[in-house]
């Protein structure tokens, strides 16, 4: 890009905050009652990690990444932001990586308790994510829901990865999405930007700080 130093993040923001938040409102309305199913799946993914290991949670996430990439990024966000036509395939790739991990299902040693708590906390954030809408003065109808909106889906995924001690290939796309979304939200002028940014920083930190035991033979 020529004279790249003359560009600021604002130069890349091609839609208004109002258009951004109304995407979620229109999406929730069009897909109702799937937003409720998303909330149920967030709980299910957490319980699966705690009780039966990560295979079921990883399989759920594989479906959700494919769905969010197609239904939200490609069909809705991509209409107002042409950059999403490059990002949506990465969501499809993440879905495939998660599916492969679920199919492989290598039993891992149970991570340390602190790491389980950190992962559960991230999943809880993803579950509570719809509350950010009313807390920010937006209608609940425009809430971002796990399994339908990319931010809570990526944050919940990081929670599962922390709890499940999953392989390194599953990490880059959710972390990069959270950083990208934090930059977008920051440019839109909302403090909500700190939530995906904190998730992108804390989840890898928790995984590095409290490594899982080696796989059982």
């Amino acid at each position: 890009m020529p004279e790249w130093w003359t560009y600021s993040p604002e130069d890349f923001l091609m839609f208004s905050p109002r258009v951004y938040w109304r995407m979620f409102e229109l999406g929730n309305g069009a897909l109702w009652p799937l937003p409720l199913a998303g909330q149920v799946l967030a709980v299910a993914a957490g319980l699966a990690c705690l009780r039966t290991g990560a295979r079921i949670a990883t399989a759920i996430l594989a479906v959700l990444w494919a769905f969010v990439g197609w239904a939200f990024l490609w069909n809705r966000y991509g209409v107002v932001n042409w950059a999403m036509s490059y990002v949506a395939p990465l969501f499809a790739l993440q879905a495939m990586l998660l599916a492969l991990a679920a199919a492989d299902g290598a039993a891992a040693g149970r991570p340390p308790a602190r790491r389980m708590i950190a992962g559960a906390a991230l999943l809880a954030v993803a579950f509570a994510y719809p509350l950010l809408a009313p807390l920010s003065g937006r209608p609940l109808a425009s809430a971002e829901v796990f399994g339908l909106a990319p931010d809570p889906t990526a944050i919940g995924t990081l929670g599962v990865l922390v709890m499940a001690g999953a392989g390194i290939a599953l990490w880059p796309i959710p972390v990069l999405w959270c950083l990208f979304s934090a930059a977008t939200l920051w440019t839109l002028g909302t403090a909500q930007a700190f939530v995906p940014f904190a998730a992108a920083a804390l989840a890898p930190a928790a995984a590095l700080l409290w490594p899982r035991p080696p796989p059982r033979a």
């Binding site: 020529p2 004279e3 604002e10 091609m14 839609f15 258009v19 109304r22 995407m23 209409v79 107002v80």
Partner: protein, 303 residues
């Protein structure tokens, strides 16, 4: 005789006079029109930009708001609408608005924006379908992107009657040297560039060159994407506003831009019908003279 900034500004009242007889032809009497040098056609001196404001996707409520802005724009005597493939869904939203409003008078200004020169023709055709127009009035190479491939195509399209005018665009002073070179070396009907009461770099070279070469000038970012009017919102309007018939900062800023005789039209973007009417009302005499322009700029810098 080389055209200096001083000389241009001395010519300003003459330019305004020259535009007078065309006013009735280009819109209601209240809208000042400016002449496209390469053809003599007059267009209203305030148009409508679509960056961000018209990128509302498939949202039916926001599309209806955009159509209402367009209806107010045409009713107030506007005709120039500017968009680009870079602006997300803006082209489709403009097309939706045109289908709703069915304006009698439209000056369609679109751009070609792709790094693959060979993809330009298909992109232009896609844009035309989005707008729902038989042909564009103006096609410009957006930000000079692959202009060496696109400009010959646009020139050939003009020769074939598939577009009426061709040009190039830049914003915020990017690629100025190359922009100037293309203005000197190529036959252009239009350029689009950033010019406002704080960003006046174009006065030094590009605006005099446009006047010298007979190139019409569309001015983008007149309000610095709204940042300028937001910054000025709390400041009282100085006494000189009355001298130029401006009732708001937005009108004062637009009148400052239009008082440069090399400027053909400013293309502010807005989501509000009342603002579009206010913007068009600024396209009317009196415009500030040279001394008042400097006072205005000093006052705005001081806020």
């Amino acid at each position: 005789m080389p055209i200096t900034r001083r000389r241009l500004l001395e010519l300003a009242p003459l330019a305004a006079l020259a535009a007078q007889p065309k006013r009735a032809a280009a819109g209601p009497p209240s809208v000042l029109a400016r002449v496209i040098p390469s053809s003599g056609e007059a267009i209203p001196a305030v148009g409508l930009g679509t960056w961000i404001t018209f990128n509302v996707g498939d949202d039916p409520a926001l599309r209806a708001e955009c159509a209402a802005v367009m209806a107010a724009f045409f009713a107030a005597g506007g005709s120039v609408i500017d968009s680009s493939p870079m602006y997300g869904s803006s082209r489709a939203v403009v097309g939706h608005g045109l289908a709703q409003v069915k304006p009698q008078r439209l000056f369609s200004a679109e751009k070609v924006w792709t790094a693959q020169g060979a993809a330009g023709a298909a992109q232009i055709e896609r844009s035309r379908e989005f707008w729902g127009v038989p042909r564009f009035d103006l096609l410009q190479v957006h930000n000079l992107l692959d202009w060496k491939a696109h400009l010959p195509r646009l020139t050939a399209m003009k020769a074939a009657g598939q577009v009426r005018y061709v040009g190039i665009t830049t914003s915020e002073g990017r690629r100025q040297a190359e922009f100037e070179r293309v203005m000197r070396d190529e036959r252009l009907d239009f350029v689009q560039l950033t010019y406002n009461i704080l960003d006046r770099e174009a006065e030094a070279r590009l605006l005099p060159l446009a006047a010298d070469r007979g190139i019409a000038v569309l001015v983008n970012r007149p309000f610095r994407q709204g940042a300028l009017t937001r910054r000025l919102a709390q400041a009282p309007l100085p006494g000189w506003a009355g001298e130029i018939g401006a009732t708001s900062w937005a009108q004062a800023i637009l009148k400052f831009i239009l008082s440069h005789p090399a400027v053909t039209a400013a293309i502010p973007a807005t989501t509000r019908a009342d603002h579009v009417r206010e913007n068009l009302a600024a396209a009317a005499p009196p415009l500030p003279d040279r001394a008042l322009r400097e006072r205005m700029a000093a006052d705005v810098r001081a806020v």
